[in-house]
Amino acid sequence: MIICLANSKGGQGKSTAAIHLAAFFQKQAATLLVDSDHVRASLAWGREGKLPFDVVDESDQEAAMRRRRYDHVVLDTPGSIDPRGLKELAAGCNLMVLPAIPEAIAMDGLAYTLHHLKDTKADCRVLLNRVRHNRPKEATELRAALDAMGAKVFKTEIPDLAAFDKAAAQGVVVYDVNDPRAMRAWDAFEALGEEIMYG
């Protein structure tokens, strides 16, 4: 399966989602994460070699895929991706995941991204990310707005938990973090992975 993480607005948690989806798919079969973001957040996350899957930048993707068999490929993209790049990626992947943090300004970048994807046949779905448990209305309203636009939204929502920040700082998947909510954080991505695979 080829999964692409994209959103024309940066800071929506694409790399966190990419890392954890890759960790989920690695449990099924060999998975490669390709980081094409200028910030190289995914590569930085994996710099200490503690991730259970391989991470490369786009210049090493072909060599990596010729060295080893990968059944799943996760593509992490920059927030500055242009409309043409978005369409090219959408056409080439099985699923495009658009992470979005429920907040008023998130809608602008998301609407722009969805606008440029509306004519593609790709399976594009919005992932409500970093949902704050004490402000559920934000997620409900964004979901309703997206439903009204005809956009597809994952049922699974990713909670806003400090365990993800700890995981990034330690260069590990969130289930390896010593945090009381680490497994709750991982459960959300497991639920997302299962929703992708089984609907």
């Binding site: 692409c4 786009e58 072909e62 895929m65 790049g85 090219e88 990626l89 056409a91 080439g92």
Partner: protein, 92 residues
């Protein structure tokens, strides 16, 4: 496709995912590389009772002929980690 870098990424992923790796150019001499030279493995030294190791090795060789003790230890550790995570999840 193939004109910009994103198209290229998707194209490579499509063409190569699920395909077997190209055979590495075989070196003409020496034994094939094993776990010692594989960066995904590391050496683990532990102390166990002699009789335990002896009993375990005998059973392992009978039930899984041709496999070394490293594979038994790897299997036990993988199961331990999985069980621990399931317990943590069940409690949390």
């Amino acid at each position: 496709m193939g004109e910009n870098k994103y198209a290229r990424m998707a194209e490579i992923a499509q063409q190569l995912h699920g395909t077997e790796p190209e055979p590495a150019i075989a070196s003409k001499r020496g034994r094939p590389p094993g776990k010692r030279s594989n960066p995904n493995f590391e050496r683990l030294t532990v102390l166990v009772k002699k009789q335990t190791r002896k009993d375990a090795q005998r059973i392992w060789e009978d039930t899984e002929p041709g496999r070394d003790m490293s594979e038994l230890v790897e299997r036990l550790l993988v199961n331990f980690v999985r069980d621990h995570r399931e317990n943590v999840r069940a409690v949390g």
